[in-house]
Each structure stands twice: as structure tokens, then as C-alpha cells.
């Protein structure tokens, strides 16, 4: 059996560890509220944006923007992967990668190249190790209040590659925040948009009755091409931004849960160690007594 001193140092270090996990748990618990507020604050924009996109899809425009056209031949696909910067958040990132990797391998088996844009340090680290995947852009350390400006760069990389025909399809992977206990690894189609637009068109958006039942089109200022380009780019930005916020809330929720179970485990370990410490101490005392008694008997 380990000596009393050894067990005591083990108890001490476990207690220190528990202090750290407790602190992390509480930090995440307070940050999760902020992250949820951010998610809520960005919702009106996303809603208005979807509305506009739905209208655009309904308008009978002659002009067809490349973002709206499904391509027949797929030579290269892109993934925008949103992860956390830091670890200690349970299986959040690895669940997403586990979801993503088979899909990527499937594309590769079909002879399709895969490009990745990484948002978050963990994605950067992961895709650096993966063979055959091309990292074309990355950003990380977005902080607790991510700004749209921080994402402009990576989104432009994707949009440019798509317009130039380097990418034929783009997906967005992130952790969807369902509630504090559940975060769902999600992979959504991002580009091209016809599927998205069709889905939006089917939805009835309450409170917005379109006046015209006949064919109508917008007055575009200055011209359809540049306005649509702008609107669609902003739409993609808003979708990616929203997913970053979802992922942020997921990160804090996952970390809170992981740290809570770590603290609970530490408590359990401490009580077990305390028990064996007391046993060891008692054994030492008993031995000492029996030695004294034995010694006295010998005299």
C-alpha cells in the first residue's frame, strides 16, 4: 500500500485540479449566456436576409447568377469548417470531425478534390494532419464576441474560388446549439443556392404578402448582376456568421458539461484517496501498537 505521504500529495494535486475544472465550469456557465444573447441578436438580420433571398428567388429575373446555378460536373468541393480555438470541451470538435471525415473520404474516392477553409484553431490543427485535403484559408481566435469583419476574409476566399470555378460545391460544417446538453454536429450545403432558394420559396413567410400575383421583377440599381452578387455574398456571410455564433454557444455548453463531470470525478477520486489514506494511517498505528505490545511482552 502506498505510504501516507504519497497519498496525501495525490489528494492535494487532485484538489487543485478540481479547483481548476470548477473555475472553468463557472466561466463557461457565464459565457454561455452571452453567447446565446449574441445568437438572438443576430437572428433578425438572418430572418430579413432570408426574406430578401426568398423574394429574389421569386422575382422573374432574366439574369442567372453563378451562385444560383447547380453544376453538373463536380471536380472539387469545399468545406467551411467551424470549430473552437481551445480544447477541454468534451467531444465537441472530434464529433464534428468524425462526421466530416467519411464525407471527405467519399468525395476523394470518387476522385473529387477537397478544399477546406478552417475557422478556429482546432480545425487548422486537424486538417494540417489530414492527407489529401487542401487548406485554402483559415482564421482563428475570434474571441467571445465574433464580428462579421473577422470572417470576411475566409468567406471571400470561398466565394472567389466558387465564382472562378475552382470549387463546384461548398458545404458548411459546425456544431448546432440545440440546448445546453445537446450540440449537433451539422453539415449544410452552402453553395450553390438553388436548393436553398427553393426551400425558402416554399416557406410561407408570415406578414409579408407580395402584392403582385403576376410576374414581377425588381428595379435593380445599378444592375441585376452586381446587386445580386452583393446580396448573395452578404447572405453567405450571414449564414457563416450565424454558424460561428451557434458553434460558440455550443463550445461553452460542451465545456461546462465536460468540466462539471471532471469536477465530479475529481471529488470521487478524492474521497477514495482519503479513504485509503485513513486506512494506511490506521494500519500504521495498529502496527505500532502491536510492536510496542510485542516489545513489552518480550521484556
Amino acid at each position: 500500500m502506498a505510504s501516507g505521504r504519497e497519498i496525501k500529495t495525490k489528494i492535494k494535486s487532485t484538489q487543485n485540479m478540481r479547483k481548476v475544472t470548477r473555475a472553468l465550469e463557472m466561466v463557461s456557465a457565464s459565457k454561455i449566456r452571452k453567447a446565446q444573447d449574441l445568437m438572438k441578436a443576430s437572428r433578425p438580420y438572418a430572418r430579413a436576409m432570408r426574406k430578401v433571398i426568398a423574394h429574389v428567388a421569386q422575382a422573374s429575373t432574366e439574369f442567372n447568377h453563378p451562385f444560383l446555378v447547380e453544376r453538373k460536373e463536380i471536380a472539387r468541393v469545399g468545406y467551411v469548417v467551424v470549430t473552437t480555438d481551445r480544447g477541454l470541451c468534451g467531444g465537441l470538435n472530434s464529433n464534428l470531425f468524425r462526421r466530416l471525415l467519411p464525407a471527405i473520404r467519399e468525395w476523394q474516392d470518387k476522385g473529387v478534390q477537397v478544399d477546406v477553409v478552417a475557422i478556429g484553431q482546432k480545425a487548422v490543427q486537424f486538417f494540417r494532419r489530414i492527407n489529401g485535403v487542401n487548406l485554402i484559408g483559415s482564421t482563428s481566435h475570434l474571441g467571445d464576441r465574433p464580428k462579421v469583419e473577422q470572417l470576411i476574409g475566409v468567406i471571400k476566399v470561398v466565394l472567389d474560388s466558387f465564382s472562378e470555378g475552382k470549387l463546384d460545391r461548398v458545404f458548411l460544417a459546425y456544431n448546432d446549439f440545440v440546448n445546453t446538453m445537446t450540440q449537433k454536429p451539422t453539415v449544410d450545403a452552402l453553395l450553390p443556392l438553388p436548393a436553398v432558394a427553393a426551400e425558402l420559396e416554399a416557406q410561407h413567410i408570415p406578414g409579408v404578402e407580395l402584392e403582385q400575383s403576376h410576374d414581377w421583377d425588381y428595379i435593380y440599381e445599378p444592375d441585376p448582376a452586381s446587386v445580386l452578387e452583393h446580396v448573395l455574398a452578404r447572405y453567405i456571410e450571414s449564414v457563416v456568421y450565424q454558424s460561428v455564433l451557434e458553434n460558440l454557444a455550443s463550445e461553452h455548453a460542451a465545456r461546462m458539461v465536460a468540466m462539471k463531470s471532471a469536477s465530479d470525478n475529481a471529488t470521487k477520486v478524492i474521497s477514495e484517496l482519503t479513504l485509503s489514506y485513513n486506512k494506511a494511517r490506521q494500519a500504521a498505528i495498529t502496527q505500532e501498537i502491536s510492536e510496542i505490545v510485542g516489545g513489552a511482552a518480550a521484556v
Binding site: 449574441l38 441578436a41 443576430s42 433578425p44 438580420y45 430579413a48 436576409m49 426574406k51 430578401v52 423574394h55 429574389v56 422575382a59 477553409v117 478552417a118 484553431q121 487548422v124 490543427q125 494540417r128 487548406l135 485554402i136 484559408g137 483559415s138 482564421t139 482563428s140 464580428k147 462579421v148 469583419e149 470576411i152 476574409g153 475566409v154 471571400k156 476566399v157 472567389d160 409579408v208 404578402e209 407580395l210 402584392e211 403582385q212 414581377w216 421583377d217 425588381y218 428595379i219 435593380y220 440599381e221 445599378p222 452586381s226 446587386v227 452583393h230 446580396v231 452578404r234 456571410e237 450571414s238 456568421y241
Partner: protein, 140 residues
Amino acid sequence: MTTIRCDIVSAEAEIFHGEAVMVVATGELGELGITPRHAPLITRLKPGHVDVVLEGGERQQFYISGGILEVQPQVVTVLADTAVRAADLDEAAAQRAKKEAEDALANRTDAMEVSEAQTKLAQALAQLQALERLRKNLKH
């Protein structure tokens, strides 16, 4: 008096929501005054102010750094940008994102891993020191 619904939103917050008599904004081709039952219109906005004239004649002014204006006969939507945007600025941001990816690929030992190793080293040193101290105490 007829009114038109007006929503002004940015990606990070809802700015205005309500009924208006007229909405004035700076479009790319000039100032636009939108009154109820305007024809559908979509345009980019220049950085500048958006004026909302409310029913009593009261004016509310908002400053936006560019965005999109969408007009339907009964609703005006302003999608405001949160920052001043320009093609060359966006281009610079894209270059940065690309460079960051290249850097990540180039140095396989990036800052993150170095800092990780450093914390481990510090921990090991602390443990060694603790052991030393223990040994000294035992000798006494």
C-alpha cells in the same frame, strides 16, 4: 395616412422596426425616398444615414456603413453592414486568410504547440522542485 413597414437590421443587432410614412436612404445611384406602395426595388446602399419619417412627422435618423435596401410595396428592409466595406479591404482580408492557412501549413510547430510544450515544461520543473524540497525535508 398609409404607412409602410420598415425593418433596419444589422448582423449584430436589430436597429429599427416599425411603421413609417417615408424612408429616405442613400442608394448607390443617389438618394431614395420610399413611400408606401413603392415598386419592388433592390439596391446597394452607400455609407450614410437612413431617415425614417414616422406617422406624426417625427424623423429618426440612423447612420449605416453601407448595406442593402429591399423594397416591397408594403415593407422596406434595410440590411445594414456592421463595418465600412470596400472591395480592396475585402481583398486584403482574403489575402490574410490565405496567408494564415499557408503559415499554418508551413510551420508544423505553430505558436499553439510551442505554448503547450512550454506549459508542460513549467509543470515538470515545478514537480522537480517539489521533489527536491521533499528530499531536503526528509534528510532533516
